[in-house]
Symmetry: C3
């Protein structure tokens, strides 16, 4: 009952007359329309595997969106079939430990910037979104997925991997606990219809353009909401997972590095990569 | 498999033959029917804005209900269109800090008495219930809302305000995390149908009398449940938010007072009140 | 995106060619089929009341399942109408405190072994499952209930009892917070259809054989999921209640013992048992 709209509106002067701009790192492109909505496109062919370089590029793009006081950001992919295939296996195979550490802390950083962003965030999921791809989309505030044959889910267990605690927290921030347990243990990849039904996505779209449009419509819902109050409200209701990360970041990194240095893990990765090479040689 | 019904029933001797009574402070009325069900009516025209006086009166009425060992309490409004419009802006404009502190701690107190009450609680929501009005109803154990054009929700962000952590906790105690995040950030005011669908209310009613009847029916569900076991069970499953408040009460008050003493907040309140005066003068 | 399937598969060598076996304590029977799926049957007539002996027997059976690296376990009952009637009242009436302490810590132990098990767990609920019976089934990862007139729920308050915190946590791990609060305070016994709708059970079955078949089908979902990753994932997403128990086990036991030593509780138990005797004598 006590409107402080004016205050925060003063902070927001971005929307009408926001100068359209675009910039492009090698692996992500940022385009801001004249309403102040940024589209961040992951463009590391063929499947946006999240290696260190893509993550660093994405991290910079998120900074740019924040710095430009964009009213919102849409995360999407340049691939016609894959949103992101998740973490790049080659960052884990015979790793340089220093680089592997940077890889993991950059992943954490991207998540913190996305899950706790001031700006409104939405994912236009225009292709498959397994594992890390699903994580990125769930870290946004809204998800629109292109209908058809695509799938989405945290399928780490199918690969012998345990999703970190903060992957799980991001999922239970989105879907009910019971559904999350079932999905995580069974490595469930949801069809678009299944994802919609359980709340893993919010809307479906006919194609990429439609998914981007629907994300913009979501972002414009906030045109009359003072952005500072909105941002703090978002961060307050998400503070559980954010506080966990803040407290456990180093331990989480050590857990990942210990995993990588397990000889059995390396042996398994070796076998897997050999099998991929054989397939490729055929 | 071990019934201790008798014990707690001895404690409860209130139901049949409970002497009907009523009392009335200036701003709330308490009426107890012959079954031991109290109806607490907020009556501060025109819209039950929660100022210090109404909150203090409400706090005393809740004490009375508890002291009389009423089997249950129904919270409702004397207004035909508004359950409660939420916190009174005039308690925040050019505040006397001592009074503002009392105002906030009284709000906390009312919430503690309601959210953690021994008696069964239900809200007969016979009008709009924004912000603090929504909070009071969510603090009860059951909500029946009169159908039609009324709306309910925590719409603080629309006013440039951040709902305190315990407002959020009260909401996630009622509806799923994902729905709460969406509602809180977008300042969503739910229609009666939307509120029913998401679980923000439990039933609809045709008018105030029907809503009170349905609340009584809910309260009578507990006629065969030993009240002490019931009360402890309720407090145990609600202990997260209650323990948070117990630990953070002073800090929460300081946060509110710091907010009020922000010159931009006062400037904004001033502009808002001037605009209200202009409207009133027309 | 990094498959370590081989590693954990090496650990799992149990499925094809698992030698079928069976063993039987006095109060539970364990049968392992040739696919490595164990069925643990509670067989303490007439209603599988959970006394110390049944709990100790069940605890040993769970150890056996774990030791044999069974791929999964199905919990069911030899009674045609009752899954388990919950805790045995005779363990609480005029108790030997030493035995009562062992009784409670054994119940905690069974829960820890079930709720946090490495193996996949499912309950074939072939009869009523009130209180402790409901707890056991909710501690599994999947529930199939035989349709018809059976009921399930944590109905402790109807008996003047407060379900311990970890009973509540087990319920909110399964159904939404709002539903759990309503069910716990009202002592709600769900019909099979109601339980399915709210998510308290996952599937219905036409009879016991069908319920066991459906549980096996659930367990086989994991045939292609590396079991170590699966187990750690399960324990990680369930770590809240498990960590609580680990920290509060002694206090939880003391709370139970204090309850038992309340003269009013004993007086009430005495009245209840006398009334049962009268009924039996008719």
């Amino acid at each position: 009952m006590f409107p402080i709209r004016q205050i925060v509106n003063n902070v927001r002067r971005v929307a009408p007359g926001f100068r359209a701009m675009s910039s492009s790192g090698p692996l992500t492109a940022v385009e801001v329309d004249n309403e102040g909505i940024a589209t961040v496109t992951m463009q590391r062919p063929p499947v946006n595997s999240l290696n260190l370089d893509l993550l660093q590029d994405l991290s910079k793009s998120l900074d740019e969106v924040a710095k430009n006081k964009c009213k919102g950001m849409i995360l999407t992919s340049s691939s016609p079939t894959v949103f992101s295939a998740g973490l790049d296996i080659m960052e884990m195979y015979k790793p340089d430990i220093k680089r592997a550490e940077t890889f993991w802390t950059t992943l954490q950083e991207v998540w913190i910037k996305l899950f706790g962003s001031n700006f409104v965030s939405a994912a236009a999921i225009n292709g498959h979104a397994p594992a890390g791809g699903c994580l990125l989309s769930m870290s946004c505030e809204y998800r629109v997925m292109v209908g058809g044959k695509f799938t989405i889910g945290l399928n780490e267990t199918a690969l012998g991997i345990v999703a970190p605690k903060w992957f799980m927290d991001t999922m239970t921030n989105t879907i009910p606990q019971r559904e999350a347990e079932f999905a995580l243990t069974t490595a469930r990849m949801f069809s678009v219809d299944e994802a919609l039904k359980v709340g893993l996505i919010d809307e479906t779209a006919s194609d990429k353009a439609d998914s981007v449009d629907k994300c913009k419509k979501f972002i414009k819902k906030f045109d009359r909401i003072p952005p500072l109050a909105r941002a703090i409200t978002k961060q307050k209701i998400r503070q559980g997972p954010l506080a966990w990360m803040n407290k456990n970041r180093a331990a989480d990194t050590q857990e990942f590095l210990a995993f990588l240095q397990n000889p059995k893990v390396q042996q398994s990765l070796d076998m897997y990569i050999q099998s991929l090479k054989k397939k490729a040689a055929k």
